[in-house]
Amino acid sequence: MTKEIDTADRKEKYKKVAYYPGCALEGSAQSYDKSTRAVGKKLGLELVEIKDWNCCGAMEVKNVDPEIQTYLSSRVMSLAKNESKQDVVMAPCNGCYHNLKKAEYDISNKEKSKAVVEKISGKAGHKAYESGEVETIHALDWIKFGYGEEELKRKIKGGLKGLKVANYYGCMYTRPRHIFPEKDQGGDSESTSKPHYMDDLLEIAGAENVEFPLKTACCGGAHTLSDSDMSTKLVLNILQAAEAAGAEVIATECPTCHSGLEMHQIRALKRLSKETNVKVIYFTQLLGMAMGISPRKVGLNANISDSMKFMKQKGIA
């Protein structure tokens, strides 16, 4: 399969997708949900929200029994296929995206996982998900391939010009490698060691991406409650590295990372008297503003960190 055919195929497939917002986008990451929908609307990409979707199993269920997490994620994919009648599920949250990919891998490769999914689906009274019935993608794939980079170049015309950005992907978007068989395939595929899809999109939008060595580093999300000071130090170090790289903004694509960066930026000032001024903004918010969508419509005012004044000074908001 050539690169061209693959890209054209994806453009058609991603034009209309099942949307799985997940719990975070209904709560702490409402601005990510708002900006994702706004960007999709502006680009003419259609989202069909999965009716009666459930938690992906996130960390909490996985900690009790990973097979139950596999079932929960499989139910979301089953609903997308059998109720929403879609072949592609788009999950902007890295945790949901990761879990759906993991479930797909487990059902394909582990007899036990498949058996558990079939058993619980039967008890719950819905069709069990079968491997390969849907393709799970991230919001980055959706925009990059569903709309197309060339088309995006014509649409945006450098709206983020002069903005220095560190693109921060966090850990769940690329790890563990084996659940993302489509990555590291050369050509247009994403890299698990040096992801670049967000860099690509924001560069098209005119941003100046800085070299950021901690783009897949742990944000300390797992330690937030058990060891808040460790999380604060990890986040502070990431923020300092972004500033040392010359970034004015850290672009995010994971609600856990995003809230962690925002909250611990404040905590670092309070607890460690360490101030950083880099702004934390979802990539969909940046893309939306670059396309002329108002800051309120992409939820910039709903972020914890106040970047409205800064974006106005830069002439973007």
Binding site: M59, K62, N63, V64, D65, P66, E67, G95, K112, C171, M172, R175, P176, R177, H178, S193, K194, P213, L214, T216, A217, C218, G220, G221, A222, H223, S226, D227, M230, S231, K233, L234, N237, I238, Q240, A241, A244, A245, T256
Partner: protein, 149 residues
């Protein structure tokens, strides 16, 4: 081998009077010591060999055997090597201050990440996941058995 607190303090302290190459070597060595701590804490002897010419990469691989979540620091170790190589390739009179400052922050991340993981010793197959309450150690290995190293 220095303790975590010492390594953290070392990375917080300006390294005066050292050449760029010495500073870079110091940060790389700090990275190795952090990984040695992890490996020893798991009852193993740290490898003396090298992978792709660097001991830190061999140690990272050793540390992630049977614990795929440790791969979350693979790129950090590779970034340390990358910055080390950048410094070594520069001429003595080139300004490498920015590279060294970034290398210091990358090493700091490694200390904090590994230190955090060791404090939360029951982390499971993935960083943001503790070990499953209902599963036996054998079941956990079966579920998490794919090692990305």
């Amino acid at each position: 081998m220095r303790a975590f607190a010492e390594l953290e303090q070392y990375l917080d302290t300006p390294q005066a009077g050292l050449s760029a190459a010495e500073r870079a070597t110091g940060y790389l060595q700090a990275g190795e010591e952090i990984l040695e701590q992890w490996i020893i804490a798991h009852g193993n002897d740290p490898a003396e060999g090298k992978k792709e010419g660097f001991r830190i990469l061999a140690l990272q691989r050793q540390g992630s055997k049977g614990d795929p979540s440790f791969n979350a620091c693979r790129e950090t170790c590779r970034e340390l090597v990358f910055h080390y190589n950048l410094v070594q390739q520069k001429n003595a009179d080139d300004n490498v201050g920015d590279i060294l400052n970034m290398m210091e922050l990358v090493a700091k991340h490694l200390v904090l990440f590994v230190g955090g993981k060791m404090q939360n010793a029951e982390l499971g197959e993935f960083c943001c996941s503790s070990k499953s309450l209902r599963l036996s150690p054998d079941d956990i290995n079966a579920v998490t058995g794919v090692n990305d190293a």
